[in-house]
């Protein structure tokens, strides 16, 4: 999948103003130290996956593994996308 596009979607959905796709390291953790995202951001990422890739995540706890890094998220989307 287009990782750059995914980054753009994340920047837009999470209002990461002043950030460019290149500023986000594909391997760095999205939560905690990385981008400093929080639990509401995690819920927004779930919405993002449903909206653009048709992936419905019922249990938000699953997000923990999926949103480890951009690469993790991209791999999950590749494997589960319905659109």
């Amino acid at each position: 999948m287009d990782v750059n596009k995914l980054k753009e979607q994340i920047i837009d959905a999470l209002n990461l103003e002043d950030m460019q796709p290149d500023d986000i390291d594909n391997e760095a953790p999205l939560f905690g130290e990385g981008l400093g995202l929080d639990s509401i951001d995690a819920l927004e990422l779930i919405v993002l996956m449903e909206k653009f890739y048709g992936i419905k995540l019922q249990n938000p706890a699953e997000g923990k593994e999926i949103f480890k890094s951009i690469n993790c998220m991209a791999a999950y989307i590749d494997a589960h996308r319905t659109k």
């Binding site: 990461l16 002043d18 400093g36 819920l43 919405v47």
Partner: protein, 546 residues
Amino acid sequence: MITLLSDNIISPLGVTTAQNLSAVRQGRSALTEHRHEGMPDAFVASLFEVPMRFEEGLIRTIEASLEEAQQKGVTIHPASQEVVFILSSTKGNVMDFERIGISAQRVADHFGNPNRPIVVSNACISGLSAQILAMRLLNAGHYRVAVVAGMDIQSKFIVSGFQSFKALSPDPCRPFDGDRCGLNLGEAAASIILMKQTNPAPADWKLKSGAIRNDAVHISNPSKTGEGSYRAMRQICREEDVPGCISAHGTATLYNDEMEAAAIDRSGFSELPTFSLKGYFGHTMGAAGILESIIALHAMEEGWIPATKGFEESGTRHQIHVTHGEEKPRNTDVLKLMSGFGGCNAALWYTKSSVVDNISLENEPGNLSSAFQVSLNPSNMPQGLTSFYRQHKAVWGDYPKFFKMDPLCKLGFLASELLLQEEAEQSGVTRFEPREDRAIVIFTRSGSMADDKAYMETISDPDNYFPSPAIFVYTLSNIVTGELALRNAYYGETSCFILEEPDEATMQQIIASSFQDDGIQSVLAGWLEYEDEQHFEADLRLYRKE
């Protein structure tokens, strides 16, 4: 002393307090599966069979309370200047995009009340905030009687918002249980009438004390250590007295119940019978603090502590005594807890004993004067909120959270930053030092209406239905107080009131009354209103105790 004169609950379980009380005793619940038009998923909630309009519910419950007072031999003239209307709601008529203040005015007009109605919009703790405000205003002698009523409608707006937070349980909720997996929403209208009396009868319920504290940790996640709830309890439970029971918030979300158990344990109340009423009524939001207080008081009056419907086996890290079945109280005192989005927490104490009020009027300043003031409006900030933020970054440094905020929060952030920076420079106060002695009190007309519209766009098209949790959270007007508490590490009270006009006299009464909480030494307060980039106004001031 402030006494409870009469009360009423209208819920799917009954239209009188007695009917609702007996439903609880019999273990009945109206929680069942529902569907809203235009929403893909079903949900479990306690809803009125025939939809009840916001104002209709408020008027009916207030009429019932007035009538009960009459039956007790006390005639309340709602058209009197001695009576104040305090209404509690988180979202009012949000589906109509109507300001809550307009609805409130219609309710007050229905009863011919001459005073401006005050709407408390403090997320889920609104019902307790409203009682605390009533207690303070009556204490100060501004009014003799307070009519306190709360209601919320579980519209598509609210239900989809909680769904987007993955906070709803697909089954009837199970407060404090190991298998709990979320809350159920509920509809109800509830009211109480409070009165100031010099020599109350021993049988009268007295509102002994109440306090509000903030977690200062996150705008939606409760504190893991139960920080604000613990601090609110500590503020009002300072004597040897132990209540007979705790009526907990107990929403049955993983995090709320964990937080509450931690706070109750920390307060030394882990042995006290604690119950949640959410398994009977669901979470009735603006009505909850009032409804749950009423049930607790009447049950204690009859000598029983309600069972926690849905609770089987303890599922919180901190062990507390959650009621399985009905229990007998050791004394009739009730400690009521609520917590809500924006990090706010409230604790309220009702008693039958004729103890002296915990709250001292001496703390309330006779004349209120502000030490610092900041006003922002389109004429001194024509560039708009975001450009202003960028241009003056030197003042606040890098605060990426700013871009996530709704306009009301952005406005509050900018004005408070300028104000607190000025305080730091002129009085040598160190910024960001954690403190509990400062309250945040915000007044607004439209609240988060700009955000309401943005959220509605995410749910109005069934083919493009993606409710946004990040937008929904900001549709609660009090989130701005939570943002300021979080930014500045203020654990003190946070309150949000909706007024149709920035009526100086009413605002001053409320601000001054915040000092009745003797843990509060200063109040960051004022008017915040945002319609669009051409129409907004911030007028924040810092009040200190002389």
